[in-house]
Structure formats: C-alpha cells, structure tokens
Amino acid sequence: MPPSLTRREALGGAAAALVLASCGGSDPAPAGRARPGSGAALLGSLLALEHAVVAAYRACEPKLDGDPLREVRAIVDQERGHVTRLQGLIRDLGGDPPHGRSAEEYARTFPLLGSADDALHFADELEQRQVRAYLEALGELPDLSLRGAAAEIAADEGEHLAAVRLMRGLPAAEGPFVTGAL
C-alpha cells in the first residue's frame, strides 16, 4: 500500500508543512518519566502540532466573518479538546506535555493572509497536515488504546477538513483515500 501524494498536496500542502514543521514536529519530546517507546514522544509531537494549529486558526479569524468564522471557531473548540486529551494521555504515560509557544512566535511562521480565501486555503492545508500526522501516528503508536484515541481524533480532523473544503466551495471529500492510500 504505497502512500500517494497528489500534485496539490505536493505544491499547496508544502507551505503548511514547512510552517508547521517549524512549530510542531520539531519541538522537543515531552520531559518526565515516560518510558522510551511508550508513544509519549509521538503524542508530544501531535500536541505541539495541535498547539500550532490553534494559533494558526486564531490568525485566520480576523479575515473571516459569518458562517465561516462560526465554523472555524467550532473547529478551534474541538482542537482545544484534542489538546486536553493529548495532555492527559502523555501524563498517563508519565510524561510532561509540551507547552505551546507564544502567539507572537507562532505568528512569525505563518503566511500573510490577505483575504478570507487565503485564510480558508491555509485552514485546508492545516487540516491536511493534521490528518496526515494522525494517520502516521496510527501506524506508529505501540498501544491499542493510544491508537484508538488517534483514530478518533483523525475522524474529527477529517470532519474539519471536509467542513473547510465545503466553505471553499469544494466537495467535502478530496477523494476516497484522504491524504493516503489503501
């Protein structure tokens, strides 16, 4: 089952990947007593990404109004729920969850958003990045209950991506295998 990468992901998605790589995946693994191989480090990377995504949506909000603003705020509420859940899972493994960076630090890494279209395009890239991250985690997390949590959050991220796509006037699904292949 080779993973597939669409041209759109390769071009458009690269921007978000670059931005978020600098504020998510490269953050340090959680400190504390978590056992190596427990999954705490991977969960810490997902948590760092969630922190960055919440900040990124905050950067999108000034460009939006009406229904798109309301839906983006609903997405942010759910992302915050993911933050809380990941923090709990890391603590359960004996780790200390990583904190997010300041809004100013995040803002320096985000693209300039000149319009609502820019903001929704950025949101689309954010959600694709998140879906990919959780699908990778599904392959790598060692424990069934951790994979269950990752799958549930991936389902949420799939909803977010679809909601953003509808707001952009696109079909809800980008294809039968979102960001991957079977």
């Binding site: 089952m1 993973p3 839906e71 609903a74 997405i75 509420d77 759910q78 879906v131 959780y134 699908l135 990778e136 599904l138 392959g139 790598e140 069934l144 994979r147 269950g148 990752a150 799958a151 549930e152 991936a154 389902a155 949420d156 991220e157 799939g158 909803e159 977010h160 991506l161 679809a162 909601a163 796509r165 509808l166 079909p171 809800a172 699904a173 980008e174 294809g175 039968p176 295998f177 979102v178 960001t179 991957g180 292949a181 079977l182």
Partner: protein, 139 residues
Amino acid sequence: MAARSKVDTLEELLAAEARLIAMYEAGLRRGVVPAGVARPILAEEREHARALERELAGGGSRNPRASVPSPALTAALRDADSFARFALDMETEMRAAYVDAAATIGDAELRRGLGSILACESAHVVALRNSLGERPLVD
C-alpha cells in the same frame, strides 16, 4: 475493541461498505437523494470496497457474507429527509467501524490505509449534514 482476525475485520468492513453502496444505489433509483450528493459518495464507497477486496484477496479471504435489504432502508426510501437521516446514521456507524479497525489491526501500514478511508467517511458525514441543512460540525 474486541480482538478479531484481520480477515474478519476486513470482511465486516466490506459487508458494511456493500450495504452503503446498496443504500445509495436505491436512493438514486428512487430519486430521494440529490445525485450531486450521492454520486461522489457512492463512487468513493465503491473505491473503498475495491480496496478492501484487494486486501482480502491477498489475505486468504472467505466469501463475503451475503446480506438482505434492511427494513429500515425500505422505510428510509419514502422521502428525501428520511433517506438523508438514515444515510447519516449509516455513515456514522461506518466511520465508527473504521475507527475501531484502524486502531486494532496488527499491520501498521494497513492501519494507516484504513485511517485514510476513515477520514473520507468523516467527509461523508459532513456532506450529509450539509445536505440536511445542518452545521457541518457537531458541538
């Protein structure tokens, strides 16, 4: 998350995909679902079924279990609103089945692949909520 074999899990997913395909085909025949909503979803469910069949073909699959049309589907075909709500329930169940499978299957690469279908099923849920005039996300 009960322990099941990979083949059992994939066969259950395939049977559920077959039910979804039959549901959308029936809805389109009866004209109770807009083609613009159902046809893309139906095409994606068929792709999921083909992928599961390929995976099963490499894993010593038994014959897929036959299923009979559900009385609930017959009732749902009476009007567009009933059909959309029935389809939303079915897609929500389908997604839950993929959440379970993507966590429990032993093969890491297959878990990722099932996750990519899971994300697509989430999009179907959102598309159906949208077709019902509901908000795409549930608070």
